[in-house]
Symmetry: C2
């Protein structure tokens, strides 16, 4: 998506350790007009999939997911990061590895909001190692719901998440795919 790629080139900042800082428009300050254009693009990609629910993960996926859900006329569910180890039986749960903060955490979704008759589109802001996305896919599977695919804003294609998920048969559509950021120069696929 040209508009997003241009924005990344203009406002993104490459930091040490292959970190791409896009907090001026994507995940701290959020440009909802840009999100509206991204939502239209996700709609173009998944409009024939009869989406009934959009699933995302807190916190930075929520904004894009909500604006995308307006276009699909369906509700959003966001997976919550849980601190409690003992989780009641009425939630689906998955373990997610955090590369930013280290360690793992649990994500949970109430069983009452994901049903076998649902067709789910996962939306998230970033795809790198794929741990969060793998956790969200597991939750959709555990619910017995159908997975239409995943719509991602920015994929770091030089990290293994995208290939891993696609090799498992998950349809992953990323609006901007970064091939490399070495030396601070962002190159798209």
């Amino acid at each position: 998506m040209q508009l997003l790629e241009e924005r990344i080139l203009r406002d993104g900042k490459v930091k040490d350790g292959d970190v791409l800082k896009v907090d001026s428009f994507l995940n701290h300050q959020m440009d909802v007009k840009l999100f509206g254009e991204m939502a239209k693009e996700f709609y173009n990609l998944f409009q024939h999939d009869n989406i009934t629910k959009i699933l995302t993960i807190e916190a930075s996926g929520i904004g894009i997911a909500c604006i995308t859900a307006q276009v699909f006329s369906c509700p959003v569910i966001f997976a919550k990061k849980s601190k409690t180890k003992n989780i009641a039986g009425d939630v689906y749960t998955a373990k997610v590895e955090s590369y930013t903060h280290g360690g793992t955490y649990d994500i949970i979704v109430s069983k009452e909001f994901l049903k076998p008759e649902d067709k789910v589109l996962i939306i998230d802001d970033f795809l790198a190692n794929g741990s969060a996305l793998t956790g969200l896919v597991k939750i959709v599977m555990d619910a017995g719901a159908k997975l239409a695919g995943a719509g991602i804003a920015i994929e770091k294609a030089f990290q293994p998440g995208g290939s891993l998920l696609r090799s498992q048969g998950v349809r992953v559509e990323s609006l901007a795919k970064i091939k490399s950021m070495s030396g601070g120069a962002i190159e798209f696929c």
Copy 2:
């Protein structure tokens, strides 16, 4: 706001300890169509205030804030809950008390996204004891920005947050104000 009050009566669940569970439409599963109607109501209330930024706090405020920001044609900033004690000097910070989880946590907003020339509307899903809202107001003040007020989805008017903030001169507009929930029966102001 009649639509929201009706929805609370229909789908809200009163739990022990004055907890109102609205996770089927507000803060786990999110009804973005309802959010669109709430956004219009916030616009009716603050349309003459020349809002340049909407400020909220992760996670459950983000959805309502983003959809409201579309109507105001301005960006959203969400305050992040920080786990790190040592915070760099380029962020505004405030302490927030958590009544749900106990203890306090820090919230942070990058200084580059809030400027003295900004006119800020704070948006959040709940107002009860007012700790999060007080923290967000402090951040706006620290930035030297102007505060238009706060738009809240649900205020528990039997808890002190709303009165406290209003007595400090903050304009607080709540779309549904709950007078009492004793015995599980929700009564609005």
